[in-house]
Amino acid sequence: MDLAQVLEIASCTDPGMVRSHNEDSIATDAANGLVVLADGMGGYNAGEVASGMATTVIVAEMRQILATTQPNQIDPRTNQTIAARLVREQVLRANSSIYQAAQNQPQYAGMGTTLVVALFYDNRVLVAHLGDSRLYLLREGALRQLTRDHSLLQEQIDSGLLTAEQAKNAQHKNLVTKALGIDPSVEPEIHEYQTRPGDLYLVCSDGLCDMVEDNEISMALQALGGNLKLAAQQLVQMANDNGGRDNVSVILVRVQREYPGARSVMAKVFAWLK
């Protein structure tokens, strides 16, 4: 089904104030309810190559698959919707593409990228992520971080070595423990959340959340929620005003109304029988 009427999407990406080029890459496909953000790493322009490959591969493949498949169909093997399987497969495919490129071409050796993939379908959002790019949800005036960073810092917080307060001034903020394209295989973290009309989702690279406090992000989103494009630009501007030491990328997705997935006749019968 066409979600372009249901989801309002705005995005903005900027190299920041210090870096000469942008290693972040974003892609959105409102019709298919798909947004992808990647923050590349690796020497010279390899980071850009990795993040660019990740977004292109995933969006292109998913678009093709979603043209013929309903993501809310039940997978007979796992008894869950097939969306999770689809997303995971495409993440793994992107991983091998990047890994292969890095192996075959010396200038790309060691490149990789963080990743957030969010697929909106059937009144829910499925999110797969790797690394320290994030998904936030603003609902009823409260901003909540839905993804948990795969970073050394997060592990230190989880194991009690650092408090969240200490973490703000910690070193190694930039060390991620999972990324796309670094190893031959990878397991993305996948979760699913129910969406509600009025929800505002924010996908961002660490260039935003390292430079702008969560409460300031929340304030900007609430103040400018009426104009998503402006809100996205404002967030980037706030990161740059605070120093803009990294590339900054944001994608905003507003759920305007319900969007139940189309169900097959059999599914309806089963639902009615239950």
Binding site: R19, Q156, S159, A179, A220, N227, Q237, N242
Partner: protein
């Protein structure tokens, strides 16, 4: 290391590294930087360098020392400052050359830390259970601090110990702005713009936002068919910089923006 570039009439004469704690400048030959010109005093000025900071001090010279066009007595030298002594110019170039810059930005770049790389060659179990987890993480942190992990294959680079604050503090000297309502039910009321963002107007009718940025205050149109007026002129879609005593008209209400200082 910081250095000075000596030039006259745009012609570069010499590059002088600030290798000593005290670098003297003057006409007499015992100075570290000798400038043989009658406009320069015998002992004209001195540059004191402590770690990465350099301070310039005029030693009571006859013709004085000028930095970037301003006569100074004492001055904390910043990158690209130009010191003028008579016809001669000394350009101060701070330490952060391209090499240092690359190193710094490398540090802040996102890098992947692979647990496999931190492990001993004999393949330890992939997940460390329970109590050992914290120790493992700590170990990884130490390993990361020591090795830098710019690249798992090339773990010899050192990470400069330069933790950066989460967000740069707002400039302290930034003037505070405020608006005063000139018409409507609340005419005369004043609102200080302390927050980074302040929304104004009626939702659904016309809304604008005032943003507080290091450069000053800006007004941006958010929603509504018409954009707000500033001094009788409708603003464009881009943020509009506000000047002291600008009059804003929004959703039928007039207000004045002013700087409280």
């Amino acid at each position: 290391m910081a250095k000075l570039i000596l030039s006259m009439d745009g012609l570069v004469l010499k590059e002088i590294p600030l290798s000593k704690e005290r670098t003297s400048i003057g006409r007499k030959p015992h100075n570290d930087i000798q400038i043989d010109n009658l406009a320069v005093s015998g002992e004209h000025a001195v540059i004191v360098t402590i770690l990465n900071d350099s301070f310039l001090e005029d030693l009571g010279s006859t013709n004085g020392t000028v930095v970037n066009g301003n006569p100074i007595k004492k001055h904390f030298l910043q990158n690209n400052d130009v010191i003028e002594l008579g016809k001669y110019k000394l350009k101060f170039v701070a330490e952060a050359g391209p090499a240092a810059g690359v190193e710094k930005s490398d540090f802040e770049k996102t890098m992947v830390l692979r647990p496999a790389a931190a492990r001993q060659p004999d393949d330890a179990p992939r997940s460390t259970p329970g109590a050992n987890r914290a120790a493992a993480v700590q170990q990884a942190a130490t390993a990361a601090a020591m090795a830098g992990f710019a690249d798992a294959k090339d773990a010899t680079k050192t990470v400069p110990p330069a933790p950066q604050p989460a967000s740069a503090p707002r400039p302290a000297g930034q003037p505070l702005g405020a608006i005063q309502l000139l018409s409507g039910a609340n005419a005369g009321k004043e609102l200080e713009l302390t927050k980074p963002l302040t929304t104004l107007g009626k939702p659904g009718v016309q809304v604008a936002v005032l943003t507080r940025r290091p450069q000053g205050y800006f007004i941006t149109h958010v929603e509504g068919a018409a954009r707000p007026n500033v001094n009788g002129q409708q603003i464009g879609p881009a943020p509009h910089a506000l000047k002291d005593h600008d009059v804003i008209e929004l959703a039928g209400v007039k207000m004045e923006f002013f700087v409280k200082g």
